[in-house]
Symmetry: C2
Subunit: 438 residues, 2 copies
């Protein structure tokens, strides 16, 4: 921030490309970010605040001038305020909430009581609802009142005498009916609702099943508590769809890049311990052939090559199969076709890799026996890897498990054992062709 020209450029960037500019300053100190935000008028600063990561946003929020802080927290899309407040320590959160109008503060407090990644936490409690016996004319008059925010209302929620959700009326229908039409005559059933404690996964399932614009959250009596809006639904979908990458390696669904080390430690440990057990299993295969290795130490050098290649080939098969299941492009019933495809791909990739690898090993060792051993075991273990990569997620799904959960750890065990066993087994069988000492 040197001359006035630089300032003007920075301010133009923040105004015109708030999301991009926010990414660029996100890792600066809160004081610096606050200084940048002061370069632009408040209505331009809000989009920048929205695009900051929640953790940064929360620390910056506390330092902002009160009017800008209020502008951020009073946006129509409540979920942003909830995300920021959710990142704050309790005492400072209460201080910030104290500045807000009582009604909004109470609503936000209620939302924040629900656990993270539940429908209650994702919902916006400001809902446009009317008694079912109201008329089109009355609904239109209310929607026209500016503070109702008619631009955000897609569906009017109809309530019965006990204030339970009785149906919804598409706002667009108001245009085609006379003012004295009773709303309930235009209502249609709500395709899906969830309870406030429903996990994000269930929210996303409802979104996908009905291609919803918004999702209503109701209590046990069917009274409406809030709605999860479109932008929040999209974020939830993205979050769920990218989860497999974590669960496949034994990371908890709740861990995020900036979770504490302690959280990461505690949640990852069990799978690492299980992985250790499976590693011992693979090691015992190697131990079984210890005499062969003692005679031909070159085998120890090449052992990781076979296991590494089959591990990678297996991971490829696993990734494609898991994604196919997640996107519902295949079902469990397709197991034979998928397995055949991966077996074929594994075989021919195995042959190709065996050739390259064989040339490399020949140049290094000059031993035709060693080339034969590694080439044969490469093909065998890559076929095994293909089969396992296809079947592990399908079998997990068949057993009613999430096909991603720790699939990578299971697969690695299979590919390690197959790689070690085929390589050392063939070496033992063909030991007459190998040169002792490497």
């Amino acid at each position: 921030m040197t001359g006035p020209a630089t300032l003007a450029l920075a301010s133009a960037y923040l105004s015109r490309y708030p999301a991009e500019a926010a990414r660029a300053i996100d890792a600066y100190s809160p004081a610096e970010i606050e200084r940048y935000l002061s370069l632009v008028p408040p209505e331009r600063a809000v989009p920048v605040m929205n695009a900051l990561t929640p953790m940064t946003g929360a620390t910056v929020l506390e330092r902002l001038p009160v009017e800008l802080r209020l502008a951020v927290l009073q946006q129509p899309e409540r979920s942003r305020a909830v995300a920021l407040l959710g990142q704050m320590p309790d005492d400072r959160r209460e201080q910030v909430l104290g500045e807000l109008p009582d009604g909004l503060a109470t609503q936000l407090r209620q939302t924040l009581e629900y656990p993270e990644a539940t429908a209650g936490r994702l919902m916006d409690t400001a809902v446009f609802s009317l008694p079912a016996e109201e008329t089109v004319g009355r609904a239109m008059a209310l929607l026209r009142e500016p503070h109702r925010g008619s631009a955000d209302v897609h569906f009017i929620k109809l309530l019965d005498a006990e204030n339970r959700l009785a149906g919804v009326v598409d706002v667009r229908k108001l245009a085609f009916n006379s003012p004295d039409t009773v709303l309930s005559s235009l209502a249609r059933a709500v395709p899906a609702v969830v309870g406030p404690m429903a996990p994000r996964e269930e929210v996303v399932e409802a979104l996908e099943a009905h291609s919803l614009d918004e999702l209503m959250v109701v209590d046990q009596e069917g009274r409406i508590l809030g709605i999860v809006r479109h932008g929040t639904l999209l974020n939830a979908l993205k979050s769920e769809a990218s989860l497999d990458i974590q669960t496949m390696v034994g990371v908890s669904k709740d861990e995020r890049a900036l979770s504490s080390s302690w959280f990461a430690l505690r949640k990852r440990m069990p799978w690492l311990q299980i992985n250790l057990l499976t590693a011992f299993l693979a090691a015992s295969v190697v131990g079984f052939f210890e005499n062969t290795i003692a005679t031909f130490t070159a085998l120890a050098v090449l052992l990781p090559v076979v296991a590494g290649q089959s591990g990678n080939a297996g991971a490829q098969a696993l990734a494609v199969t898991m994604r196919g299941l997640a996107l519902r492009e295949i079902t469990i019933g397709h197991w034979l076709r998928v397995m055949r495809k991966e077996m074929n791909a594994g075989f021919w990739n195995g042959v190709a890799i065996a050739i390259t690898c064989g040339i490399g090993v020949f140049l290094w060792s000059g031993s035709v026996g060693l080339v034969l051993v590694i080439a044969l075991s490469m093909v065998i273990s890559m076929v095994a890897a293909g089969i396992a990569g296809a079947l592990v997620p399908i079998v997990l799904a068949r057993l009613g498990q999430d096909p991603a959960v720790a699939s990578s750890i299971i697969l690695t065990t299979v590919t390690d054992v197959a790689g070690f066993f085929s390589f050392l087994g063939i070496a033992t069988l063909l030991s007459g062709m190998l040169v002792a000492g490497g």
Copy 2:
């Protein structure tokens, strides 16, 4: 399909839970699926057809009675018809298109000319558009005509004198304005448009940036070609968000679970060959210590345990960091915080695993020296794995690359080399404490 009771049950299941029932029958033969579909009235059969995987759906479609086939292809959401026709061989597709009204057939043919996973292929060409100078009254009259499908129209697209997209009018606004209001006075700018050749990735970026309900596809002159509807946008978002799992292990973006073996072979091969190179690099580390291994063969047995554990710990760190970048919860600027977290988690997980592993190795070998070697190298290599898992995606992103591309292959190289080097290096240093021969 035995008695009448079974038939009634099957038919009830198909009618009431079409999506679930479709998953259950998806892997049956097309003839069997067709027989099941004949159990329910056509309007109940369409949702089942919609929930079948596209590949199965396409083969079943050809066998259906003509009226049911037409019902499937003439649904308002065109993208389903496009997906099914896209799976058919050219000759049979033409045969099916021949049964459709000329207008629809031409529209579908045009859409099918765009490559897969482009905006052109995803769009629906039936768009409700009007000249900008039309009035609210005329728009409402047209929307009321049943065949216009007013239920699907959220925004009226306004066209200028050259038929270019000039803005959109929210259908809900019609309700609040007199019939003689000119539409252009109610218009707002279109937040985002894409060209028909825009890749799905760009479609998803526009969706996320503006939280869109639908996305307009325009040609170079700005004339509207079609719209990508909400359900299709959600599928595209899910498809993109789950892509990292493939790209991280060197699988092409275009591969699907049922792609041909040949496609899989061709596209995966380059990364497998690169992986072979890196495997030789790791092997050369082992080769460097061949003398140590020749003396203490127990090292060869335990070598994969260290590399396997650090590989798995690294994969966990990688997954969480990559997802954080994808969900924009962190930026490149957070590298130090993320690295510190993963270093800490790696160290303490390393200590815990070193203890368990040490006990196991002591029980197996009774050698305190070996326990010391594996425990020390476990901690070192797991810290290295944590650091690498955090930094690999961040460095890739910094270099302007997709943080997922082949990150897993790069990481494995790092963890293998770190694991082998620390384990064999420490063993060589402490060789006085080891027992020759294992």
